[in-house]
Symmetry: C2
Subunit: 316 residues, 2 copies
């Protein structure tokens, strides 16, 4: 049996996993990334932990045939990280090469949402499909585009940066500095922003009651929960969310015409109350031929998607 | 030497060409499509003409190794035309199979703008590139997306239907029945529509003088010509056109991050006055990493792109 390492390199934690060629997870472990100690030192330490963990798992390191990594940033040629979000590491660095020095294995790297989408195609909601659009809708909106089982990463790793497609010309300011980005509207952050804006003038609703009694910041889940309890104010916010998700999805459907869209991230946990509305609204934005036979499903693998997808990347 | 037939099946005329394996055109000929005589009869007649033309050109038909076709409609699996614009022919028809009956060669079919984009990659402006976005901006806006030298046609042939991505939520009505489509703003039709709307209230400009003296309908070229002569009113219209092209392009860059964008169709003939403005405005809409090293060029092959691209399709 051959084995593949999958890693999910995050700003705070890094997840390391070993996956067999059938996509079964042998183990996963979480370690602090501690990127402050510097690029080379961190990679060396993570490599040592990886090798030790494999040895401790009764798997012969010789049977580990490849290593894949997901990282929070754009990646060029499955090797070079163009720039780091939240890491004090140099730009344009050959991350694959640095790991290869220590691991003595071929290493492949791609953007984390791209890698998650590979995972969902291999063992999750998109199993058996070749043309897949993966979306992670949480703090921002990230996308992974798979055409004929291959990731579309683009010349500079910008493939799938769909959170920054524009849904309103000269619209709301986005964290990227541009205006009208999809994620400024339809991410969890965008939904909360809209909710807070409306709550400053509408206080006669269940959501307002909830958050004033909670003593913590509003979360997207609070809005979906209040909507499920029938709060009209919150239902209107769910409608807002579904409208902008449908608008952005419509543009991607008219561009890529995928077989299946897999939606993960916090917002996807809202379930039918959101997905049903998205499906109703898509007809306004997507060409009807792109909706014929289209599947839109929540992600299945949850936190394991990054490990399984990275292992798949390392395998192929 | 091997040869390939390229055909461009149009509502009025069909162009048939023979191309050698180096991409050189041996001959092209134009015949009336006459789709009214029915699907099977038309294909039979076009096939006979094709074989006769090859025989008349001193090329042995045995040396013709494949046939490619571009058609005005979405195509599934390089064979089946999902629906016909302007043809009284059945939906979901196996066009490749029908030609194969008569030609005794493998036949491949794809959407006409997809095929043009293949042509520009093989022998035109995008030669040597693997990740190409082709756009035809004329009556409408069509797109061809090439990732790693392969067309993205989508599950139902909707890949590249970028003219119907939305640039204004609940915007202008489009011919497709939806609102806010890119082509309702930035196609030649969209530009003329905007110009006519402005001309109803602004008459003190060169463009108004021109068209009242011309005695024919306004064309996009008139606007670009007047702008080049310094007409402020027309320059504002060029600015409008560039703004919306940049907005739509930005969304595609943030989705696909191609190496090169090739723009054809009537609007592309405007030249620098338009392309310079598009380049200036793109920074508002596209992530900066997608603009690094990006080339945006006018199409080079003109009317031959369809034949050369179709031959390339038939070859690969």
């Amino acid at each position: 049996m051959n084995y593949y390492v999958g890693m999910d390199l995050g700003g705070t934690n890094t997840k390391i996993g070993l996956v067999d060629e059938g996509g079964n997870i042998i183990f996963t472990t979480i370690v602090k990334t501690e990127s402050m100690e510097g690029f080379e030192k961190t990679i060396e330490r993570l490599s040592k932990i990886l090798i030790e963990q494999v040895k401790g798992s009764n798997i012969n390191y010789d049977d580990v045939k490849g290593v894949g990594l997901g990282v929070p940033g754009p990646v060029v040629n499955e090797r070079v990280v163009k720039l780091w979000a939240n890491f004090p590491w140099p730009k344009e660095v050959d991350l694959a090469g640095e790991f290869e020095k220590h691991l003595n294995r071929k290493v492949k790297v791609d953007n984390d949402v791209n890698v998650i989408t590979l995972g969902e195609m291999w063992k999750g909601a998109a199993q058996g499909y070749k043309h897949v659009l993966g979306l992670a809708i949480g703090t921002g909106i990230g996308g992974g585009i798979i055409v004929d089982t291959k990731l579309v990463s683009g010349k500079n790793g910008g493939g799938g940066e769909v959170g920054h497609t524009k849904v309103e010309k000269e619209g709301k300011l986005c964290g990227c500095g541009q205006n009208g980005c999809w994620e400024a509207y339809a991410s969890a952050t965008g939904l909360i922003r809209e909710a807070k804006s409306r709550l400053t003038v509408h206080k006669n609703n269940k959501l307002y009651e909830k958050i004033t009694s909670m003593g913590r910041e509003l979360e997207a889940k609070d809005i979906f929960d209040a909507a499920k309890e029938g709060d009209e104010f919150s239902l209107n916010l769910v409608d807002y969310e579904a409208e902008y998700i449908a608008l952005g999805l419509g543009n991607l459907l008219n561009t890529l015409d995928p077989e299946i869209i897999v939606i993960g991230g916090g917002v996807a946990l809202a379930g039918d109350i959101l997905f049903n509305r998205i499906n109703e609204k898509l007809h306004k934005y997507a060409l009807s031929s792109t909706l014929e036979g289209l599947k839109i499903l929540p992600a299945q693998l949850g936190n394991d998607a990054g490990i399984i997808g990275a292992a798949y990347l390392g395998m192929n």
